[in-house]
Symmetry: D2
Subunit: 91 residues, 4 copies
């Protein structure tokens, strides 16, 4: 169970399909010996796309799962878990 | 008002004093014409120190302020504000 | 033209195929309503994979294209271009 | 020895003095129990400042030290060292 509604799922799936296509595009660029800098810029675009996906999921998780847990007096556990994620994603 | 107790404040202040000293150290390294790579590695260490400070404050904020707000039915506003911060700190 | 040899191309293509599979895996996780935190951890793994790909290409680019350009007295242009990439990838 | 001219040194020292002041500002904010989110935003500003400093030094290093080394047939060693730095600073 997560906190994504049908609309979120549709939006995220569309984004991820685009990202999947971009990853395949990188494989093609490598195969066709495109210029390194162009490949790197394209990878940067993928990372930007993934960041958007993760921020969306993060947002829904905190508004949904975390709020529910806090109201059920189980906030501290879910927040510790959340901080683990934040640590990984923090620059 | 924030969610830092006296112990947190002491720990964070100590960390920040160290970071302040490291920033002064970089100025000295530049003045003494130290090798670029050594300066860059030192800046990286400072960034690591700042990340630890921000994760600590973030953790206390979510466990404290955010939980309190959720219990007072003001969760959505404080979580939107939180997501703004997360976006800035996310790689 | 880039600085990737056949061996690099093979290694990078393998990595990217794995990443492509992982991106499809995220779509499945969303479809199957897996837990947000598990999805986020999986996205973090993809970002780690992409970082490895970009560091490899970056490394080959500097050892190859950049060195060649410097020896042909065209170093400054290619380094300005490189710095543009570094800025995007820097946390 | 590094690749920073007097003008660079002056600019970087000014930036670092400002950053040092901002780090002291964070200590004050903690002491005065300012709101967590305001402290986090201020830390984010410091990290932005440090990124600018490191990009400047990186740029000068590649245009200067690295180009010189490449012309003296010592490019590969200095580029390996550079990649070590890039890896640390890459998100």
């Amino acid at each position: 169970m997560n906190s994504l509604c049908e609309l979120d799922k549709k939006e995220l799936t569309n984004r991820l399909k685009r990202i999947e296509g971009q990853v395949r595009g990188i494989q093609r660029m490598i195969d066709e010996e495109k210029y390194c800098v162009d490949i790197l810029n394209q990878i940067n675009a993928i990372q930007g796309g993934l960041k958007k996906v993760s921020l969306k999921i993060f947002d829904k998780h905190v508004h949904g799962c975390v709020q529910r847990a806090v109201k059920n007096e189980q906030g501290d556990e879910i927040i510790d878990e959340l901080m683990n994620v934040v640590e990984k994603f923090t620059k």
